[in-house]
Symmetry: C2
Subunit: 351 residues, 2 copies
């Protein structure tokens, strides 16, 4: 399997993507293609103590770089020779199975849409990160920021694509799909939610999704829903407030524990053990919510696997994104998705 990595994307490029690629190449039987400025990539590899690249890591030179100020809509036209666009072109030409980039989300999304193309019938590609939940499983949030403005039909499609993702990538037999809303009653929300509720109910009755109705933000992590359907704006708010609160709780916990320790230190040595003891528990919990562990976010509805890694991804994050890409390629569901969408429109035509 061939995985492309945009070596110039993200805050820590090229060092982090190159190091992550080298680690991944060691760990898994996969070929990695680093796309970007060859000299910079070789320098980063040297810095990581690797003078000659292993056999399963190659470089494809791309002189240009997409930066955060580039208008996402014009990147494909104006930055033809950037690492991101060259990578996506190789992917669309079938020279690789997946592409990973920590560069501009907007640029990667429009590039994936224009170059790699959407699955037939899909109106918009969505971002569907899978986050850990209380049940020990994962919950897919779809969409999480790719589409700030949505129509009810987009939300219906997010439910279908998210459901297939949960089935194939997370091995959930019959994923429970919930609509993010401000209350559970079917009269809640704006016209967008009310119309999406009707469309999802209809798709449920046709056996296309297992729609369980409206869910509230606080239910997301409780493990009572497998796929949360929402517009990209609220999905982004949901995801980032979960991240922020997890970070806040973790640091607050450390502070409380440390404060107690220093207060007791000298009087009660047990507190030190207590401190070390808690620290592990805190670490385990906060790391569960760590984006580096969660890995990147796959663009759902694109013909081939494209993964957006977090902008501040380090080597570990890139390494995990490679693993995620491999799994995603093995779980590819483009065909099933196309069939489901076809079935939906046909059934509607029958109405």
């Amino acid at each position: 399997m061939n995985i492309l990595i945009d070596a110039m994307g993200g805050d820590n490029a090229p060092k982090a993507p190159v190091m992550g690629a080298l680690e991944a190449a060691k760990l898994w039987n996969v070929n990695i293609v680093l796309v970007g400025q060859e000299d910079a990539i070789r320098a980063a590899a040297k810095e990581a103590g690797c003078d000659t690249l292993p056999a399963n890591v190659e470089i494809v030179h791309a002189p240009d770089v997409v930066d955060m100020h580039d208008d996402p809509a014009n990147v494909c036209r104006k930055k033809k020779e950037s690492s991101m666009v060259v990578g996506l072109r190789l992917l669309s030409e079938g020279q690789a199975d997946a592409m990973i980039s920590a560069g501009s989300t907007g640029a990667l999304l429009s590039g994936a849409t224009l170059i790699v193309k959407r699955v037939k019938g899909i109106r918009r590609a969505a971002m569907g990160p899978a986050i850990p939940n209380k049940a020990g499983s994962k919950t897919v949030l779809c969409d999480c920021g790719a589409n700030a403005e949505c129509t009810p039909e987009f939300l219906l499609q997010f439910g279908i694509v998210g459901s297939l993702y949960a089935k194939k990538n997370l091995d959930i037999a019959n994923p429970r799909v919930g609509l993010l809303n401000i209350g559970t009653e079917d009269t809640k929300g704006t016209p967008l939610q009310k119309e999406a509720y009707a469309l999802l109910t209809d798709a449920h009755n046709k056996g296309l999704v297992n729609f369980i109705g409206n869910i509230e933000a606080r239910d997301t992590l409780l493990g009572e829903v497998d796929v949360v359907v929402c517009d990209g704006f609220s999905g982004n708010v949901l995801l980032k407030s979960i991240e922020g609160t997890a970070y806040f709780m973790g640091s607050l916990m450390k502070h409380k524990i440390f404060k107690r320790k220093s207060k007791l230190f000298g009087y009660n040595p047990l507190s030190i053990i207590g401190y070390l003891f808690c620290r592990q528990g805190v670490k385990e919990v906060t790391s569960m919510m760590d984006y580096r562990e969660i890995g990147g976010t796959q663009f759902l509805g694109i013909k081939k696997t494209v993964i957006k890694a977090h902008g501040s991804s380090d080597a570990l994050a890139f390494r995990n994104a490679v693993k995620q890409a491999v799994d995603a390629v093995n779980a590819d569901f483009s065909a099933e998705l196309e069939t489901a969408l076809k079935q939906l429109t046909e059934e509607n035509a029958d109405d």
Copy 2:
């Protein structure tokens, strides 16, 4: 000062509101008026070991009750004799200074708007809970669910009213107002955010708010913003995902710690101390995010103090809501708000 409590509102009525009222009456120099079915209220007081009510607690009988199935829009007309509507009427007639209810949010909001009325110039009343942040201060989220659909002008007004609330109720000298968005660049978001950004910038230039620009959901708890402006839908998602994540992290922490304890129990007694030691830290942190500690949510932009207590409020929550009501009455800023809105429209007329 006279505080009205809807004795029939909430999941634990009348017991919780009555017990909370009795506790509050003991703790603070305040008169409490319990509105609702007299027999039920007296029975609840007896159950709480109070056969005769103290001098500063009285009952106003209201035979009817607003329930969750009542259409909020019709409550004022169809449930004239309900505890909620009778209470709001007494408030508007000047027979009390504030009203607390744990009943239907929608009904309380439309009742407050129709009976107590909005401050002159305010388009919509907003819900502005103040939640703890990393800086040890509080952050106001405005709106948090009162208005699922908003116009840019609503958001501008939420910024102004939220800012005054932070100034007067939270003693923040020059509150930093941020617009909830999916990125910090001023080009981010839907047309709603883009237009609200322009209006808030304009108000900032006129010295009416200290607008610091777009903020992301993860920044909410970091204490770098004092007022988060958002439409009621995303605000509700933000608040409830913070609640949900805090609860999730707390229970996960307990689980991890407990698991370790039972694993080590018998072999290493220190782990038991460690466990007890952590438990306190976990408790401190989770209670910070406990709605009972946060208290109720004030409707901002209503002429008098109306506080929505959480539906599942217990006696402690009602007690804290009374304290909150007393503080809110003392910090009343209706006059300043009216002036600010007047100034804004005048300034705009000058443009």
